[in-house]
């Protein structure tokens, strides 16, 4: 093929008579299909096996971006830790997989989905708060409900933040594949986003009502005996070294037993009866986040329990983890029982709500074919 003209060989005189030094458009005919030659039609990433017949956009932009000596990384990791291998050692979790690269995020999260989804949710929250403010909804809360929002709903911003910042952000450093780490990083942003939403909602309420104590949540979280077991559970989750144990303990024990119990079981079920239509919508957003986060967690854990080589060992391991973490979260959940009696109108009871939370855990573990730990019924 003849050498194409370079920009410098093309005229620089503009139609207006001005001479500018600018690279000029050159016809290179370098578009697909201009010639046929070996591999001229090789237009898919061919180094991984897609989950289905054709790779999705998510797979194309995610798979193998984090390399692995077990696949193509022939020179191995070129940096190591002082006391261990570098990169993403599979030993950072006690769980085993015959091929970690099997996992695909069922939410197919990549750049576009992350920002579209989260931007939609922050707009939804902002719009709901604006509607409430314009409609004077905050002022109509009873003093008792106002205290519940300031004290208890306010306190809830902390576990969301703690899990986001100190459980999921660290966990996304550690998993052996990019597909797992990206899913966890999105999970962390869900938590951090809702924590901030709750904090800013708290600020909004304190500006709308003179009796709303915008700092009450600090006292509740740090000193109220009702909240101390939740704080203890949260802090203990941040102290887990094994990334998958942290994800399992947070998403399969804490979230259904404490998170959903408080957000949906208490706030969403109780607020409307107390004249509050806005707080449940914020908690509802957190609930929809949880569905996405549970979705990837279940696929990940389910894949490991069905691993041909290590499945049985993994089931036993997850059982041990859950036997350790379910009592912590049940204890945290029980400590919240008095909260259910505080509002003037309580359409749900704590015991019913806890029973539903337990059932939820049973359902999830049933789907994953993990035997329900006896600690769930204690």
């Amino acid at each position: 093929m003849a050498d194409t003209l370079s920009p410098a060989q093309t005229p620089t005189q503009t139609p207006t008579g001005r001479v500018r030094s600018v690279p000029k458009l050159v016809f290179t005919d370098a578009e697909a299909g201009a010639l046929e030659f070996p591999s001229s039609n090789s237009r898919s990433f061919n180094y991984f096996k897609p989950q289905r017949l054709r790779a999705t956009m998510y797979e194309d932009v995610t798979v193998d971006v984090q390399p692995d000596p077990a696949r193509y990384l022939t020179q191995d990791w070129v940096y190591g830790f002082a006391k261990g291998r570098g990169g993403y050692p599979t030993e950072w979790t006690a769980a085993k997989s015959s091929d970690w690269h099997w996992f695909r995020d069922p939410n197919q999260e990549w750049e576009q989905t992350i920002y579209k989804n989260n931007a939609r949710l922050v707009r939804q929250v902002e719009q709901n708060i604006a509607n409430a403010r314009n409609e004077g909804a905050f002022e109509r809360w009873s003093p008792a409900w106002s205290r519940t929002v300031a004290w208890h709903v306010g306190a809830w911003m902390h576990p969301e933040h703690g899990l986001g910042m100190h459980v999921f952000v660290p966990a996304q450093r550690d998993a052996p594949t990019n597909m797992i780490n990206n899913a966890i990083s999105v999970n962390s942003m869900h938590k951090l986003r809702i924590a901030q939403d709750l904090a800013l909602f708290n600020l909004e309420a304190s500006e709308a009502r003179s009796d709303f104590d915008g700092r009450a949540h600090l006292e509740a979280w740090n000193d109220d005996p009702v909240w101390q077991p939740v704080r203890e559970n949260t802090e203990k989750l941040t102290a887990i070294r094994d990334w998958l144990e942290a994800v399992v303990a947070a998403n399969l024990a804490f979230e259904p037993l404490v998170g959903e119990l408080f957000r949906a079981g208490f706030v969403m079920a109780t607020a409307a009866a107390n004249g509050d239509f806005v707080t449940p919508t914020i908690m509802g957003v957190a609930e929809s986040d949880l569905e996405r986060d549970l979705s990837y967690t279940k696929d990940l854990v389910g894949g490991l329990t069905h691993d041909e080589e290590h499945g049985r060992q993994n089931i036993q391991l997850f059982g041990e983890w859950l036997s350790r973490w379910i009592p912590e979260s049940l204890n945290a959940a029980r400590s919240l029982a008095p909260v259910f009696s505080e509002p003037e109108h309580s359409p749900v009871t704590f015991e019913d709500t806890l029973a539903r939370a337990r059932e939820r855990v049973r359902e999830i573990l049933g789907e994953l074919e993990i035997p329900t730990p006896k600690e769930l019924d204690q």
């Binding site: 690279p23 390399p67 696949r71 022939t74 403010r133």
Partner: protein
């Protein structure tokens, strides 16, 4: 009721409120996964970003929409009828490397969060984490579009595999692995944020896209300027952490060590790659367009070194002035970029992209921008063009063109191309070669559990099979190419080619053309020598160059 609108709350109030989210744990503390030898007990609180997720997500969504709109436009407007193949081929290397450093930066954030006890900066670091996920996937998507619409998809189609097994990928991989491994502050703050992001993203994400546009590719600027618009926030993260580190005098020796390592490694790696892409990947030879050396002087020497780094001296930072000057000396006087480009072109048979030869017009531009260039490099590039089509001869690396195949630098893994600077030393019971005294110091002194008499138990290690050639010591070239998978879909034509000529199958090199050429490892060979042979070899090697010439052969 009129439609409700979101009210803008006071930024200070919002920021103060968000600070209420963190607390001092009393039941258990976050696990200390990633240790550091730095101390932050006396660190002042500092949060320069004040980023709130409520505004962050819609802002990034809007930025994305602009990027994707441009992508649609490029495809509909047949952008690829105007892109230069010479340029696009280098993108097969660049875009195979860069998504990994990006995602590594995401993974590095918990290292910094864990090391720095001030919750005020944690928020900004967490936002940076998801920014980096954005960057990695948006860049992969750009590459996917290139693969779908550019004339030659070979090389793009094997991208992440090729990144993992090619010698050039290893060089680039330091730029990501260095962020996530070893002492948490060395990795996630000094190497990543203070040097890589603050200094070298200027040439990566600003100078290079400008060159892309000059070669008909306006998508690279679209994507990378969108990426770069996040970098200023990341730079603020790094700045606040280094100020905190400087507040404690015990950190200053470590800061001085890490800045020397990080500066030199970034220079060695990034200038090698981006300098080559900009100078040897362009068809734009207007004499008034900025050369890489000129861009470096402006973006890195003036904007970074003089305006950013030097002012930190008054806070106690020991700035490696000598290494900044030596980096410039290597670029301007020692031909670093040209030596690297020549090495990449020498190694074309084991690459996964095609490398265009230089023409008379290129020679003229190089001579104008880098006086004396032709006498050093012109003849070799003429040989490159002479040998570009298979015609009974071997690839240029196996022909007598007065080019001594170089030894690798054990530390930065770019070869020891400035021959007189090569250092040979026995480290960890192995004879190793280094491109420079600073790279020897990095391996032998800096990356060790003790530094200047103090324990540095958190410092990382240099590991792995660091000399790529070791993997294939004395293999036949054709077998190496098959093993790497750099063969097109007819099972014989090579993915790499030393030219742009796709119109005639006879011009395309195949496996058969590469049979019978053993490829020895310089490092294994070095370790097989007697002490006397090694000394003589080193003396000869250091007397060689420029342009890889053997000592005594003009």
């Amino acid at each position: 009721m009129p439609a409700a609108t979101a009210r803008r709350q006071s930024r200070t109030k919002i920021h103060d409120k968000i600070q209420e989210l963190s607390w001092n744990p009393t039941f258990a503390t976050p696990v200390d996964k990633y240790p550091t030898d730095y101390t932050f007990e006396k660190a002042p609180k500092k949060d320069p970003m004040k980023q709130v997720l409520r505004s962050y997500f819609p802002m990034e969504e809007e930025k994305d929409q602009r990027v994707f709109g441009a992508m649609d436009g490029a495809v509909r407007g047949n952008m690829f009828r105007n892109v230069q193949q010479r340029w696009m081929e280098w993108q097969k290397l660049f875009l195979s490397i860069i998504p990994f450093p990006e995602i590594s930066a995401a993974r590095a954030m918990p290292l910094a969060i864990n090391a720095v006890p001030n919750p005020e900066v944690h928020n900004g670091l967490a936002v940076q984490m998801i920014d980096e996920v954005r960057h990695s996937t948006i860049q992969m998507n750009l590459k996917r579009l290139y693969m779908n619409h550019y004339i030659d998809p070979a090389g793009f189609d094997i991208t992440e595999k090729a990144f993992s097994n090619c010698y050039a990928g290893t060089i680039g991989r330091q730029f990501g692995e260095g962020f996530i491994t070893g002492d948490a502050i060395t990795a996630a703050d000094i190497y990543l944020t203070i040097v890589a992001e603050t200094a070298f993203t200027n040439t990566l994400f600003v100078a290079m896209p400008s060159e892309a546009a000059a070669n008909g590719d306006y998508l690279l600027p679209t994507v990378f300027h969108s990426v770069q618009s996040d970098e200023s926030r990341h730079i603020s993260n790094g700045y606040s952490i280094i100020l905190m580190a400087l507040a404690d005098e015990r950190n200053r020796e470590l800061l001085a060590r890490d800045l020397r390592y990080a500066w030199w490694n970034n220079h060695a790696v990034v200038d090698a790659a981006i300098g080559t892409f900009i100078e040897y990947g362009t068809k734009d030879r207007r004499k008034d367009r900025e050369s890489y050396a000129e861009a470096w002087r402006r973006w890195i020497y003036d904007d970074y070194y003089r305006s950013y780094l030097m002012p930190l001296e008054k806070y106690g930072l020991e700035v490696p002035h000598d290494l900044v000057e030596e980096a410039w000396n290597r670029i301007w006087n020692k031909g670093y970029i040209h030596e690297v480009a020549q090495f990449f072109a020498t190694g074309w048979p084991v690459n996964y992209w095609r490398i265009d030869g230089m023409t008379d017009e290129d020679f003229e531009w190089f001579e104008y921008k880098y006086p004396g260039w032709y006498d050093k490099y012109g003849k070799w590039w003429e040989n490159y063009s002479r040998l570009k089509h298979p015609n009974g001869h071997g690839p240029i690396a196996f022909e007598d063109v007065n080019y001594q195949y170089p030894h690798r630098c054990w530390t930065c893994m770019v070869p020891c191309l400035i021959r007189e600077d090569m250092v040979v030393d026995k480290v960890d019971d192995q004879w190793r070669t280094y491109c420079s005294e600073t790279c020897r110091w990095t391996d032998k002194v800096a990356f060790r559990p003790e530094f200047k008499g103090r324990a540095t138990p958190s410092m990382g290690r240099l590991t792995g099979k660091r000399e790529w050639e070791t993997l294939y010591h004395n293999w036949d070239l054709a077998d190496i190419q098959k093993d790497l998978g750099y063969v097109r879909d007819d099972g014989k034509t090579l993915t790499p080619q030393p030219h742009m000529d796709l119109d005639d199958p006879k011009k395309l090199w195949t496996l058969d053309d590469c049979k019978g050429y053993p490829f020895p490892s310089p490092n294994i060979t070095l370790n097989e020598m007697s002490d006397q042979e090694r000394d003589e070899f080193a003396t000869q090697y250091k007397a060689g160059g420029p342009a890889g010439r053997f000592a005594g052969r003009p």
